[in-house]
């Protein structure tokens, strides 16, 4: 117990020293929010990297660590990721798309307070397969506007069926408009679904084959 108290005290001192040190390498008083947008014919994915500067880290930690117990529980992480994604306005061809958090990861509180920690959130919105032709995605990030700087970029699409034509932003990059075109073709199902479906398909095939055999043998009326 005594050892635990000493190590906790040492950790607290280390955190304080890190927090008070002059970290030259990163912005100090701003919350850097970098967004990347990946486009598919039937899905929009937004990847966010959120890095609080050393002088705003406490405020961000307070937003996440709601019970102030010094650790970020899964519920607290999920709640914060949902709040961040809730502050995003995503529109496809002028129609709002609801984003769902796919995955998020949070650094240790100490590294956030040291100006090093980056919160990563990925959210996506599935939508109807787009018809071939021109389309437009709009993304606005209003999370912590008073203390943030923003980066917003379209990723080069992973499929040749989508081509990004143009990107437009406001001066702060809180808003990003992407003009893109979708080319004709078949939407290839997600590889994960294909893999997951293979055993089911194999099972069905086996059942059909057995049934045919039984029919041929006359064992099934």
């Amino acid at each position: 117990m005594a050892r635990r108290s000493r190590s906790s005290a040492a950790a607290a001192v280390a955190v304080l020293l890190v927090a008070s040190a002059d970290v030259s390498a990163h912005r100090r008083d701003e919350y850097l929010q970098a967004a990347r947008v990946a486009l598919l014919p039937d899905r929009v994915t937004v990847q966010l990297d959120l890095t609080p500067g050393i002088e705003v880290a406490d405020a961000i930690v307070t937003l996440v660590d709601r019970d102030r117990d010094g650790s970020l529980s899964a519920e607290e992480q999920h709640a914060y990721a949902s709040a961040v994604v809730g502050a995003l306005d995503l529109r496809l061809d002028d129609t709002r798309l609801p984003l769902q958090v796919n995955v998020s990861s949070f650094p240790a509180i100490a590294s956030m307070r040291g100006g090093e920690g980056t919160i990563r959130i990925e959210a996506s919105a599935a939508h109807r397969a787009l018809a071939a032709g021109a389309h437009q995605v709009f993304l606005r990030n209003t999370h912590q506007r008073h203390q943030s700087v923003y980066l917003a970029n379209a990723l080069v699409p992973e499929t040749a069926r989508v081509t990004v034509l143009d990107q437009r932003r406001d001066e702060r990059q809180t808003e990003l408009t992407i003009d893109y075109s979708v080319h004709a073709g078949t939407v290839v199902p997600n590889a994960g679904w294909v893999l997951a479906g293979l055993p089911i398909a194999a099972g069905l095939l086996l059942r059909v084959t057995r049934r045919r055999r039984r029919v041929q043998d006359g064992s099934v009326q």
Binding site: V18, S24, H26, R36, L151, L155, V164, L165, Q173
Partner: protein
């Protein structure tokens, strides 16, 4: 606008083809006439690496050596020690003969200009530690600055045949040099500087001064129409593809080199050389030839004022190249990144 869209499509198609034909890339990268020269360079680097390792005791060798397929490859940062934990051998822990061997290794691996740049960045960090603003710090007491806080590591065993990586870095510096026989890749690497200007032995030192001046030189060599294409109407506050952004390719923006005249294209190539030319010149020339081949699909984008001395960001992006130059709210604190989306960590050559 139509030309811009067409070039976007050409860029995307080229990139897709390059990624799809990843297996063919190594053959396209090396050129037969240079193979002997680069093999000789690799042999010299391997020899220097082995001599450095021989100066270390068992504990030192255990610290410097990591398996090639370990996650160490992508563990690097621009942050100072104390904030970011580096692995490898710390320069400040080396004896004078060990430091001399490490210096010989860096000189073998880098060009003369590249070694000078690395040295100027490290010396700048020493100025940051000892200067008027005296960041100081020390081991175990938060962030640490200065020339002792740079680390050297081998990812994979130094070899003239098998792939391995020489990793050298500290605050504001990450050099990741992958060698695979006669081929080499020095991406991703992150040369940065703070202060961006300082005095050493009566001389003014600007570790990234040429990058800055050549960038401003090109933007000011563009005519009004070209500038309209090149200048992004929004602020870029930081690197988009800095540390931790491996494997991501953003949509290129700005003016394509195909819309530049010959003199302007030469200026663009000379900017790129400031990063591509950090590694030994025999590798750098092959890399520059590749960059020249892809020049028509390479874009130059600018954000900020165009008067030299202002805080301005620029990006150069082609099918096998990303360079970003990003002042951190000040002309005295610069971050840059140098990547090859098809060959970071030697992905295309280390097979």
């Amino acid at each position: 606008m139509i030309a811009r869209i067409s070039l976007s499509i050409v860029f995307a198609a080229t990139l897709t083809a390059l990624v799809a034909a990843g297996a063919r890339v190594p053959a396209q990268r090396s050129t037969a006439p240079s193979a002997a020269a680069t093999a000789g360079t690799t042999a010299a680097i391997v020899s220097a690496a082995q001599k450095f390792a021989a100066t270390l005791d068992d504990a030192g060798r255990a610290k410097v050596q990591f398996p090639f397929d370990s996650p160490m490859k992508s563990r690097w940062s621009n942050l100072p020690s104390g904030i970011y934990e580096r692995h490898g051998v710390r320069m400040g822990d080396l004896t004078a003969p060990q430091k001399a061997a490490a210096t010989t290794l860096l000189q073998a691996a880098l060009s003369a200009d590249g070694y000078r740049k690395v040295n100027d960045i490290i010396r700048g960090d020493e100025v940051l530690r000892t200067g008027a603003s005296g960041r100081g710090g020390g081991r175990g007491r938060g962030p640490s600055f200065g020339q002792d806080e740079y680390y050297i590591a081998f990812i994979g065993t130094p070899s003239t045949a098998s792939p391995w990586m020489l990793q050298f870095g500290g605050h504001h510096l990450a050099i990741n040099l992958t060698l695979a026989g006669s081929q080499a890749s020095m991406t991703p690497s992150l040369p940065a500087a703070q202060p961006a200007t300082y005095t050493f032995e009566g001389r003014e030192i600007r570790p990234l001064g040429k990058e800055n001046d050549k960038g401003f030189g090109l933007i000011n060599a563009l005519d009004e129409g070209q500038r309209k294409q090149a200048i992004l109407p929004y602020r870029v506050s930081d690197l988009v593809l800095g540390a931790g952004q491996d494997g991501r390719v953003i949509q290129p923006e700005g003016i394509p080199a195909s819309a530049l005249n010959a003199a302007q294209q030469t200026m663009l190539i000379e900017i790129i050389r400031e990063w591509a030319g950090i590694m030994h010149h025999s590798y750098a020339e092959i890399r520059m030839a590749e960059i020249r081949r892809n020049l028509p699909q390479t874009y130059f984008a600018w954000s900020g004022p165009t008067t030299n001395g202002s805080v301005a960001y620029f990006r150069i992006q082609g099918p096998t190249l990303v360079i970003e130059y990003a002042p951190q709210n000040s002309v005295d604190h610069i971050h840059t990144i140098y990547r090859d989306p098809t060959n970071d960590y030697g992905a295309a050559i280390a097979k």
